[in-house]
Amino acid sequence: MTTEHAVEAGHGAPATATEYIQHHLSHLRTDDNSFNLDTFWISAALGLVFLFVFWMASRKATAGVPGKLQNFVEFVMEIVNDTINSAFHVKSAVIAPLAITIFVWVWLLNAMDFLPVDLLPKLFGFLGVHKLRVVPTADVNHTFGMSFGVMLCIIGFSIKAKGAIGWGKELFSAPFHAHGFMAIVLAPINFIFQMIELLAKPLSLSLRLFGNMYAGELIFILIALLPWWAQWLLGGPWAIFHILVVTLQAFVFMALTVVYLSLAVEKH
């Protein structure tokens, strides 16, 4: 099935559906194909947007009747606060900013999927940029970067709560407790279990977010290939459902981060 496109500067129109799909799935890379520039810059720009909006809200915060921005920020804070209170029972100055950052930043990154598929690639095409993927969380490198950061936080929280030696001992003595000779026998088994647990958490976090966003983006691209009268029929419900998915995945990432950190500071 051929698709019609205005010719992008320096680029022929995609001749087949497969070409269109593959064009929309190619990242803007550095010259030696080692780094996804589009992911990096879009996520950095959205991070700055998030910081700016929340900073503006904090500057204008009043104890009286709140304005709309303050209302919205407090709404977000309340959601995050409820999640932390229900899962994390130790005093920590870092957990709240971490959770807010994860929730709002991941939501903003996911929300890039709401823009029409061709919008930003066309606009950037006029500037000479011919490959662009606009959803950073649909890039597995980005989600792995975030979950690697969460894994470092888990290790950091564990060491802070139990001490480096205490955590090291726990790696070899949990979940199977024993004394004397059996302890030495069980130590490597315990260590393997602990490592699997430690590695499975960030792996599942990142792949869950990536899978959801990649599948969502791909379905939008496939819907874009349909004739115009079918696009609204299928694209409308899918876009509405995708609003739920975007918010849910951001919330689940944040909630699971809080839960993993609470498990990390828990003493056996």
Partner: protein
């Protein structure tokens, strides 16, 4: 050579379909049980409904995970087939 490529493509199509299908069955059953329990619990104790709903969404997000990972793998096979690339690389040598 063409027969080989055709075979790899055919197998890949089946593999992608099975991955997506089985993932969908598991997720559907999981959501069904989860939703049913939530409705029962809400009917028993309506005052707990908000808290249960939060937990409902958290567990829904977890249920989605594996099938989404499967969909990601299946879509990788569909649009950038590594097995096909391996055959083409081997033939090119």
């Amino acid at each position: 050579m063409q027969a080989l490529i055709a075979q790899v493509q055919g197998m890949t199509v089946l593999a992608a379909a099975i991955i997506i299908g089985l993932g969908a069955i598991g997720t559907a059953l999981g959501f069904a049980i989860l939703g049913g329990k939530f409705l029962e619990a809400s009917a028993r104790q309506p005052e707990l409904m908000p808290q249960l709903q939060t937990k409902l969404f958290v567990i829904a997000g977890l249920l989605d995970a594996i099938s989404m990972i499967g969909v990601g793998v299946a879509l990788l096979y569909t649009f950038n087939n590594p097995f096909l690339n391996a055959i083409i690389a081997a033939a090119g040598k």
